[in-house]
């Protein structure tokens, strides 16, 4: 049975390749990246063989603890969580628990993160190849550590999956989890600063961590190398105990997941509320705008990208905080404009096959494009203007106001126009409606990145006039360039906006059925 589950996972992975060549590219790029990370880890760990034991122990234990934390936390925050072998899909197969558990755990190792972790962990054996007991201890520790990583990750995924049963939780959680992810930069900066200030404490910290479930397994080799079998035995107990506890908790959760089918309830609302449809004009474009704006609010996949917006000033403030010079904050309005405008570049992909309604009603591509862009513009325009004024007021650099306004408006309108063209022609694999926002088809990241990269390059070219004016003012200090930038941003931006809507609309008119066929593939 374990072998069956493993081969099922392998088959799912292979069939994923067969669906689209892009997924091969995605996996290849991912594998290249993982190979680089693993290689540097392995080289580092082997090099530690000649370092003094205290340093080696500190690095191995703290690194291992970090990796384990990563395995536990990543499923919560990243879309990479692997639900291909979602336990609830086995509910009807009546697989005995003692087969399902090891099968799912080992299947969790099959995949880039699993293999990478395994290789890096095995490299710690090289670190401790200073004697037979130490190497043997490191090997045992590596096996226990990797198993704990996988089981911890499975435990978290299963726990979250059963929590995700309610739609409302699903909606909220996916947005809330974005916050720490976005703030990762400042958080990491703070931590690195803290570590730098307290370098002397690190060995002590490692010693403390090695007594916790996070670090116990990784410390076995070092303990035995230091000639401390009693300590090693005690930590082995901690490692085994925590692995057993993780397995037990996972077992209980899985058992519950298997008998509790997913339930999505929701309250009923009062009828007679047209909502946003009452606020927009009763035209096809107005209806599309009302629908899109409703989705920006109600669909967590959209709302998630909005969470970043209020965090933007915080991020840039932090970025400037290191030097005490907050001029970086001036970029908040153009950057936000760009982010918001570009966020509709996968709009049709988000619709998924619901796009059939647009196709069936024969709404013209121009109206479709215009409606989606207007929905974004409704909140993006005031927000960008607010950010522009706010950042100027905070920094007191009033001479930059026209230029910042120009580049912000230029970025917003150009971006909306470009995104309208991009989403009319290319689909990207995005989470399907209503599914867990964690569920994404593999390979998606790279394909999306390719479209994004090409789009952003095009954007850079289209925004050259605005960028040139900013550079000119920065070089000469003359505000004349600011006013030229404002004029260029407004006029050029609006022209590109209209051109984008028209071109995207024409493409959509001509290729609507082909677009729908692509969307049906992504189901």
């Amino acid at each position: 049975m374990v072998a069956h589950l493993l081969s099922l996972k392998w088959r799912l992975l292979l069939n994923g390749f067969r669906r689209s060549p892009w997924q091969i590219v995605g996996i290849a790029v991912g594998a290249l990246y993982a190979a680089g990370v693993v290689l540097s880890c392995v080289v580092g760990l082997v090099a530690l063989r000649w370092a003094d034991p205290l340093t080696a122990q500190t690095v191995v234990v703290l690194g291992g603890a970090l990796v384990m934390t990563g395995w536990a936390v990543v499923p919560l925050v990243a879309s990479a969580a692997d639900l291909t072998l979602d336990p609830s899909r086995f509910t009807t197969s009546a697989i005995p628990m003692r087969d399902l558990l090891p099968g799912l755990a080992l299947a969790g190792l099959l995949g880039l993160p699993g293999i990478a972790t395994l290789l890096a962990s095995l490299a710690t054996v090289a670190t401790w190849s200073r004697g037979f007991p130490a190497a043997a201890g490191a090997l045992l520790g590596a096996v226990l550590g990797v198993l704990s990583c996988v089981v911890a990750s499975k435990l978290v995924t299963t726990a979250v999956a059963s929590l995700l049963a309610s739609r409302r939780f699903k909606d909220i959680s996916s947005i809330v989890f974005v916050v720490p992810l976005v703030l990762a930069g400042p958080i990491v900066t703070a931590v690195v600063q803290g570590v730098r200030d307290s370098r002397d404490y690190l060995p002590g910290l490692a010693e403390a961590v090695s007594w916790t479930p996070l670090g116990a397994a990784w410390s076995l080799g070092g303990e035995l190398d230091a000639g401390n079998p009693a300590g090693a035995a005690a930590k082995l107990l901690v490692a085994l105990g925590s692995l057993a506890a993780l397995c037990g908790a996972w077992y209980l959760l899985l058992k519950r997941a298997m008998v509790t089918p997913p339930y999505g309830g929701g309250g009923s609302r009062k009828a007679g509320k047209a909502g946003l449809f009452a606020l927009f004009p009763a035209t096809p474009a107005g209806a599309v705008a009302a629908r899109s704006l409703t989705y920006w609010i109600r669909d967590p996949r959209y709302a998630g990208s909005l969470v970043i917006v209020p965090l933007m000033p915080v991020l840039l403030y932090f970025a400037g905080g290191q030097s005490g010079n907050h001029d970086v904050l001036l970029t908040v309005a153009p950057l936000t404009a760009f982010l918001l405008a570009w966020s509709i570049s996968a709009d049709v992909s988000y619709d998924n096959t619901a796009f059939a309604l647009h196709l069936a009603t024969g709404v013209r591509g121009r109206d479709d494009r215009l409606g989606r862009a207007l929905a974004c513009l409704v909140f993006a325009l005031p927000l960008v203007l607010l950010f522009a004024a706010g950042s100027i007021a905070l920094t007191g650099r009033w001479e930059w106001l026209p230029n910042i306004l120009g580049s912000s408006l230029g970025a917003l309108f150009t971006g909306l126009g470009l995104a309208s063209v991009v989403s009319a022609r290319w689909t990207s694999a995005v989470p399907v409606p209503g599914e867990s926002p964690f569920k994404k088809p593999p390979g998606n990241v790279t394909q999306t990145l390719l479209v994004q990269f090409a789009g952003m390059s095009a954007m850079g070219v289209l925004l050259l006039p605005e960028i040139a004016m900013v550079a000119a003012q920065a070089a000469t200090g003359s505000t004349v360039f600011g006013w030229i930038g404002l004029a260029a941003g407004t006029v050029l931006g609006l022209a590109l906006f209209v051109a984008g809507i028209r071109l995207g609309g024409r493409w959509l008119d001509v290729r609507g059925p082909e677009m729908f066929a692509l969307l049906a593939n992504n189901r």
């Binding site: 999505g264 599309v288 619709d351 196709l359 024969g362």
Partner: protein, 281 residues
């Protein structure tokens, strides 16, 4: 049940079929069929899903399309309604070529595709209104028709609920309402009775029969022979991407029940041996 008024006023103007295609019905006298398929064919990779289907659906008929799983029913209906571009052939809605003049053709029909999502973060009434507004209809007309449709389909008390929280049968009904909002001349419904409870199914049947009685044309695809035999006046049997038989229900079934005739036409199915172990418990 609220009586639904399907005014003919909103159907939009018609235009002559584009040049280069044979007119669906060259002889002078017969009326233009509501739907005319001409040599439709579609291939997915190595698999030929639809292999040259030509069919006339007379205006005012209640037309059933039956066939085994994978027969190409959904593919054919998708190509007939402008959702899927055919490799060969085309379709005419009341004489308007779907692939030459898609916008005019789409004004004439309402469609209920099978297996597609809905904009399910909208409430039921919002979704139906959206379908109407997308077609450029007047807000007041949309509002009154939405009320009528939801009441007729017994969705009145769930009008404000998000479609994502609807049951499968309620989703079918709300999608049907979205297809009816502009009072089309032709309704193309792919599996409209799937996962619909018997009461709602009877309800939908009543609406459709009334619609046909007032001059509209309905095409349904279904697996349920019994239902098609009772409900439809015309039927086409489709298998392996081809039309095996088409005509009035009485012509096609030729005295037998539609189900027996269907099994005979499609072939196989009589063999019931070979599962002896099923009786050993």
């Amino acid at each position: 049940m609220t009586a639904l008024e399907f005014g003919r006023g909103y159907a939009g103007r018609m235009s002559a079929p584009g040049p280069g295609y044979p007119a669906p019905n060259p002889s002078p006298a017969p009326p233009v069929p509501a739907l005319a398929l001409r040599g439709l064919a579609k291939r997915f990779g190595d698999k030929i899903a639809v292999n040259g289907i030509s069919l006339d659906v007379p205006a005012g008929s209640f037309y059933g399309v039956v066939g085994p799983n994978g027969a190409g029913k959904t593919t054919t209906l998708s190509m007939a309604t402008g959702l899927l571009r055919p490799d060969f052939g085309t379709a005419f809605i009341h004489g308007v070529d779907v692939w030459e003049h898609p916008l005019e053709a789409k004004k004439l029909m309402g469609i209920l595709p099978d297996g597609v999502r809905l904009f399910d973060r909208l409430s039921g009434e919002q979704l139906v209104s959206y379908a109407g507004l997308l077609r450029g209809m007047d807000r007041a007309v949309v509002q009154s028709r939405v009320q009528d449709l939801l009441a007729a389909l017994d969705l009145g008390k769930d009008a404000g609920t998000l479609v994502v929280d609807y049951s499968a049968g309620m989703r079918k009904k709300i999608a049907l309402a979205s297809a009816l909002i502009h009072a089309p001349r032709l309704l193309v419904l792919d599996e409209p009775f799937e996962s619909v409870d018997p009461v709602s199914a009877a309800n939908i049947r009543g609406i459709l029969e009334q619609y046909v009685a007032s001059g509209g044309t309905v095409i349904v695809s279904s697996h349920v022979m019994d239902l098609v035999q009772r409900m439809c006046d015309h039927v086409a049997v489709v298998a392996a991407g081809r039309v095996l038989a088409a005509g009035t229900v009485d012509e096609v079934r030729a005295g037998a029940s539609l189900e027996d005739r269907f099994v005979a036409l499609v072939g196989g199915g009589t063999r019931t041996g070979g599962l002896e172990w099923l009786r050993t418990f």
